[in-house]
């Protein structure tokens, strides 16, 4: 029997990790991820989770511990945010290039400077080309579901890549809402123990890992790594479908289309803003406007074919970016989506907003769609537009 539990996003993540039965967890607390580490520490202390939990002195150490544990055949988990991720960069890149199926939640937080602790996925988006699979979610339920799915995807023998489940700091990490928990037995069946068939680290039979490698071999590693990323484009939707068979919930696999069938214009979103975007689309549909919504769920591998299919027959689209791509004069998601639509002359707008924990409201997204509806083709090369919240007041 399924059961409903009221949790914040960090607890949703912790419950998913608990049900996924990792062998080793290593993490360093950082706002807004801290509660997740606290929950996991509590489960281990209470014997609800049989895992080795290391409270380390830095994020660099956390990832390095997991590399050893994963090489020894363990299922592993960690989580971080923002500056913690930045400190982790060196082992962050080494984990996918060693093809280790680590799962890491990134509780998205804006990058410094200026000093901030609030939300924004600049941290993980900036590292999109480091070789990890990256999944961005929109609700506490999807945090739970995506983490369980992430272990399956990461450990798939055709993939063997680490997976980030990215969720917005505060707007999800500190959001309280009900989620439905599947029975532990169902999760155990969906996610059998990790049994790698490659050689494992063994103290009784020592070996050297990752020796100095000449370029022609390194290129072979890169080629295979890239092919594994492309294979994930097939595996991720299969895993989502199988999970849907178990729970009745599908998140669309790589992307999620909402009221797109007969839409003339579309909004493209990532992360927790998608909830407000659904309502904005509903409101404009009620006014008779043919608008739809495309949520990018998986950013790496980038679902170029799905994005092309979803948008190629639209008159125009707008991408909402809660991040910036310095040097492109736009947001990261917009450059990604436009690359997928290269060759198609479809006008688009790019909105940047919600940085540093600012809200992205239904009204703001509705205004963006209204602007899009009136767009003429000359706007293709228009610079990005900055979304400000007209309802914002001072700090409460």
């Amino acid at each position: 029997m399924n059961r409903i539990k009221v949790v914040n996003g960090n607890e949703a993540a912790a419950l998913a990790v608990k049900m996924s039965s990792p062998d080793v967890i290593a993490a360093y607390p950082i706002t807004p991820q801290s509660q997740l580490v606290e929950y996991l520490g509590q489960y281990v202390a209470d014997d609800e989770l049989d895992a080795s939990m290391s409270e380390v002195e830095s994020e660099h150490s956390a990832m390095s511990i997991l590399q050893g544990a994963s090489l020894a055949g363990g299922r592993t988990f960690t989580a971080t945010s923002s500056q913690g991720l930045a400190l982790m960069y060196e082992p962050y890149f080494r984990t996918p290039t060693l093809r280790l199926p680590v799962v890491m939640a990134i509780v998205n937080r804006e990058m410094i400077s200026p000093q901030t602790v609030w939300g924004g996925p600049q941290d993980s988006l900036t590292l999109r080309d480091a070789g990890w699979i990256q999944i961005y979610v929109e609700s506490n339920q999807e945090i739970f579901d995506a983490i369980v799915q992430a272990f399956r995807i990461a450990e798939d023998e055709d993939i063997l890549l680490p997976v980030n489940v990215c969720y917005d700091g505060f707007y999800l990490s500190h959001l309280t809402e009900p989620i439905e928990l599947p029975p532990a037995d169902d999760v155990a069946e969906f996610l059998p123990p990790y049994e790698p068939d490659h050689i494992l680290l063994d103290p009784d039979d020592v070996m050297s890992v990752d020796p100095l490698t000449p370029g022609h071999l390194l290129m072979e590693y890169r080629r295979r790594h890239m092919e594994a990323q492309q294979r994930a484009l097939q595996v991720i939707p299969q895993v989502d479908e199988e999970y849907a068979g178990l729970t009745g919930r599908s998140w669309g696999g790589l992307t999620y289309s909402y009221r797109m069938q007969d839409a003339e214009v579309a909004l493209v979103t990532l992360g927790s803003m998608t909830g407000a975007a659904r309502v904005a689309v509903d409101n404009l549909r009620d006014e008779g406007r043919k608008v739809g919504l495309l949520k990018i769920r998986v950013l790496r591998p980038f679902p170029a074919t799905e994005v092309l299919c979803a948008l190629q027959d639209k008159r125009a689209y707008a991408v909402i970016d809660r991040n910036v791509s310095f040097g492109w004069g736009s947001g990261i998601l917009h450059t990604e989506v436009r690359a997928a639509l290269s060759g198609k002359n479809i006008p688009s707008l790019n909105y940047i907003g919600g940085l540093g924990g600012e809200d992205l409201t239904v009204q703001m997204l509705q205004d963006a769609i209204n602007e899009l509806v009136q767009l003429d083709c000359e706007a293709v090369d228009a610079p990005c537009r900055w979304l400000h919240n007209p309802q914002r007041s001072g700090d409460r």
Partner: protein, 180 residues
């Protein structure tokens, strides 16, 4: 869908109260969500939180700008924040205040129903500490009718224990309701 904005000061349990409303609503078979306003965490500083309650699933994870109801843990917070900003026509105010202090507050036209209770005094009596949130939750259940007081009391007892359950009951019973 009903939208609620809670105001208080750091240490008064404003954010926890928002979570407890969600728990009580879900226990009653409804959907709800809550987020705090992400400010600077300091004891005594103004704090706010946002709650939505609906019979259907709620997608937006945003702040509340047009509240149907304000829950105010500390009447003095009105000098620090725009307390009544965006209140809907026909909305309700549930405030920790005695009648004397309430007289000093200039209510906007939108506020139709006021529930007031000296929650700090009751908290002193029941908990030995001036933390008004669970008393105010009882008052909220009574004035709004959006969550059942029994559901709320059970949730509060699970989280904070029996004393706070009594605080809920007293808030529910002792709130004075004025219709404007």
């Amino acid at each position: 869908m009903k939208e609620i904005r809670l105001h208080g000061r750091g240490g008064q349990g404003t954010v926890k109260a928002s979570e407890l409303i969600v728990r009580a609503a879900v226990r009653g078979g409804r959907w709800a969500n809550a987020i705090p306003y992400f400010g600077f965490e300091r004891s005594g500083a103004p704090v706010s939180a946002f709650v939505r309650i609906s019979d259907e699933m709620i997608w937006p994870k945003t702040q509340v700008y047009r509240p149907d109801c304000l829950v105010v843990m500390d009447a003095s917070v009105r000098s620090a924040v725009p307390l009544f900003e965006g209140v809907k026509e026909g909305s309700m105010l549930i405030i920790n205040s005695d009648s004397e202090e309430l007289q000093k507050i200039e209510l906007p036209d939108g506020v139709q129903t006021v529930g007031f209770v000296d929650a700090t005094q009751i908290a002193h009596e029941e908990l030995g500490r001036p933390i008004p949130n669970t008393v105010m939750l009882g008052a909220f259940a009574r004035v709004s009718g959006w969550v059942a007081v029994d559901d709320l009391r059970e949730c509060v007892i699970e989280v904070f224990g029996a004393e706070n359950g009594r605080a809920v009951s007293r808030g529910y019973e002792e709130v004075s309701i004025v219709n404007g």
